[in-house]
């Protein structure tokens, strides 16, 4: 559910964050914004929503005067030259839940923006107050960076201010200094459907291929979540995909893969080519052998994951049980 401007303002009040709000006609640029709030003391911010080639997203929030060089930033993040682009408008709506012209650090209040990295200009610290849009560009709010930090901490973010104009050398012995800002965790999300569709085209049942994709997607979200919210240990108790904890689902997964391979064109074509004369038993043997050969590595991998998952659960159960047994005398 996307946060609205009013919900955000209410939340700020709840957190006892002191801010001043100024309504004005919708503004798409800092220059336009300056016309309305430029004379009130405080630093105006420009907010960029960027993405890298691995579909990770970044909000770069800087003072209007700070020079932001995308090439330099890209290198400092360890993305190579030209690794950063402006993110397309659809992603702004999808991930930040704000329209064009309203990018703001406050958008991180949305769950969907959980994996978006935030880079704040250290120049903000030198200002008494700074202006940001409260999720809508028909209003600007000004607040002190300490209060901004308070808000960010309340949504589980660690506020970090960076010298955005710095241009340190990046090379073999000087690792990218902003590499820690790059969102971690599997970010395979947007493109995961591709590998799954490869399975689908192999002829496997549609429903089950989707489950496979979904299971993998679920898992893809959870590790990312773990890395961001380092606080609550209990929040880290992630449930592994049920294909690997439930024997029935595991067997179904295996049978799905086998049927997919069996029905796949290639298997039959290879078999047909040499064996038009063969029939019945011989053909059956031939197919069985080929199936074995091509399924073995994949299935072994799945079985090992199943085993590892079971062991992990047992291991933690063992640890917990020995702890609860302590009070006995």
């Amino acid at each position: 559910m996307a946060y609205s401007k009013d919900q955000l303002l209410a939340r700020l009040k709840d957190l006892q964050i002191e801010f001043s709000q100024y309504e004005h006609p919708a503004v798409m640029t800092v220059e336009a914004q300056a016309k309305y709030v430029g004379n009130i003391g405080g630093g105006l911010s420009k907010n960029l929503f960027l993405k890298d080639k691995k579909h990770r997203f970044y909000i770069v929030s800087a003072l209007a005067d700070t020079k932001v060089d995308m090439k330099v930033l890209s290198q400092r993040l360890g993305l190579g030259k030209g690794g950063l682009r402006m993110a397309p408008e659809e992603t702004m709506l999808e991930i930040l839940k704000v329209p064009l012209g309203s990018v703001t650090p406050f958008a991180l209040v949305n769950e969907s923006a959980r994996d978006v990295a935030l880079l704040l200009d250290k120049g903000f610290k030198a200002q008494e107050r700074c202006f940001f849009h409260p999720l809508s560009n028909d209003m600007s709010i000004s607040l002190n960076t300490n209060d901004l930090d308070k808000f960010l901490k309340s949504i589980g973010r660690d506020p970090a201010y960076v010298d955005l104009e710095a241009n340190p050398a990046v090379g073999k012995d000087q690792p990218p200094d902003l590499a820690a800002f790059v969102p971690s965790g599997s970010t395979v999300l947007p493109d995961l459907p591709d590998p799954a569709s490869a399975v689908q085209s192999a002829g496997g049942s549609h429903v089950n291929a989707n489950n496979n994709c979904k299971a993998a997607t679920e898992k893809a979200i959870k590790p990312a979540k773990d890395v961001q919210n380092v606080k609550d240990k209990s929040a880290k108790a992630v449930n592994p995909s049920s294909s690997f904890t439930d024997a029935e689902k595991f067997v179904e997964e295996i049978l799905d893969r086998i049927s997919a391979k069996l029905l796949s064109e290639k298997l039959f074509m290879q078999t047909k080519e040499g064996n038009i004369a063969q029939q019945g038993q011989e053909l059956g043997n031939e197919i069985a052998n080929r199936l074995r050969k091509c399924c073995y590595p994949e299935l072994k991998n799945l079985a090992t994951i199943f085993k590892n998952t079971a062991y992990t659960q047992g291991f933690h159960a063992g640890k917990a049980s020995s702890l609860t047994q302590c009070p006995r005398t």
Binding site: K53, P175, D194, P195, A220
Partner: protein, 400 residues
């Protein structure tokens, strides 16, 4: 005198291989490397012997000469024949989060082949301290990277009942540290400078690091796993640039009463842009990453994989492709399991019958399958699983 000196310096300038730098003005000359380091070629007779002993077909990497050099592999096999087991030791320096296919090579070999074929346990060292020192990362960052890398390593399919993963920051101490001191006492400052090229400007952390990478070769470093088995042998699968560490270790081992570890060494994984290109973490197009989507893989191969094909179709049909420099074929030789198919592709492509596009397409399919399998496995690795792999616990079934 002068002429010889000049020639030697010229040769040395041409090719640099050390744990921290791999570069060459042309292709890496592996024969020269073997001579320089003093290890042995892994020839066909040895591969055949391994096949006889294990009763399975040798791994793709052995068949294609990816793992091409060794030290004392014969001794390990002799002992194995007599019923004496050994354990495996390999490692990773977690300097970046993004793992590419080249990084996976030693792990794929260790897991899908060595561990399975010989039924032996494995210890995996994550040298977070090394990266903290060499790459100037913070302690927390290097520890975090170590855990993230551990997930990708686990996703290669390691069995938790036979594998112990540890990070230096977590594990150094106790018996491990005692061995480190024993090793350190046997290596003079001058020696370590000679082997690793340290200078007066290098900080003391670097100078005292080599024992950390040496002692996992000794079973007494892992009392929770191998207590009472002080004479268990160790086999180390690694890339050949790690040889200096283990030359030092092998030198020291007999002096402190331990077996010398044996090594099985691999060549380097070429960058997409070709042998002379360097695979670097800052250039995402120099390699295929395990997080790449099918689309990205296809794109990278089509756009960046250095082709040995001719400039035009007509020329190509006439002259065929230059297999020596062609990257798609090289990558296929790493990852295409079917020997017959690879031979066919090499023949046809080399003669000009097959076009670069077709080869690239085949490669894209092979790599996508591999990466997809990895991603599914990776998605199933939880923090709890990492904890389990890294817990200091006995492995009662490790030789089963």
């Amino acid at each position: 005198m002068d002429k010889n000196e000049e020639k030697q310096r010229e040769e040395e300038r041409e090719q640099v291989v050390s744990p921290w730098e791999v570069s060459s003005s042309g292709k890496i000359d592996y024969d020269k490397l073997i001579d320089k380091f003093g290890c042995q070629r892994l020839d066909q007779s040895l591969v055949d012997r391994v096949q006889r002993l294990t009763g399975r077909p040798p791994h793709v990497f052995l068949r294609r000469g990816v793992f091409f050099a060794h030290r004392d592999l014969n001794d390990i096999l002799d002992a194995y024949e007599k019923g004496e087991k050994f354990y495996l030791y390999t490692g990773r320096g977690p300097s970046s989060e993004a793992l590419h296919l080249g990084h996976l090579v030693p792990f794929m070999f260790t897991n899908r082949y060595l561990q399975d074929a010989f039924k032996v346990p494995l210890v995996i060292q994550l040298t977070d301290d090394e990266k903290c020192m060499w790459k100037n990362l913070s302690v927390e960052e290097s520890q975090r990277l170590a855990r993230e890398n551990a997930k990708d390593i686990i996703a290669c399919g390691f069995d938790v009942t036979k594998t112990f993963i540890f990070s230096d920051f977590d594990y150094v101490g106790g018996a491990f540290y005692k061995n480190m001191v024993k090793v350190a006492k046997c290596v003079t400052y001058n020696k370590v400078v000679g082997i690793f090229g340290f200078t007066g400007e290098d900080h003391i952390g670097k100078v005292s690091f080599p024992p950390v990478q040496a002692v996992p070769s000794f079973p007494s470093s892992f009392p929770h796993l191998f207590s009472g088995k002080d004479h268990l042998r160790c086999l180390i699968p690694c890339a050949i640039d790690q040889d200096p560490y283990f030359r030092m270790t092998r030198d020291v081992a007999p002096r402190i009463g331990y077996h010398k570890p044996a090594l099985i060494e691999s060549s380097f994984f070429p960058a997409l842009q070709g042998e002379t290109g360097k695979m670097s973490a800052s250039d995402p197009n120099s390699a295929i990453y395990v997080t790449d989507s099918a689309k990205a893989i296809k794109n990278k191969i089509n756009k960046y994989a250095f082709s040995g094909g001719q400039e035009s179709v007509e020329l190509h049909r006439k002259l065929g492709a230059n297999l020596e420099v062609d990257i798609p074929v090289k990558y296929l030789s790493f990852f295409l399991e079917d020997d017959a198919e690879l031979e066919h592709i090499k023949k046809e492509y080399g003669a000009g019958g097959m076009l670069t596009g077709e080869v690239k397409q085949r490669l894209a399919k092979v790599l996508t399958e591999l990466v997809e399998r990895h991603q599914v496995a990776r998605a199933a690795v939880t923090d709890e699983m990492v904890d389990a792999f890294m817990a200091v616990r006995p492995l009662p079934n490790m030789f089963d």
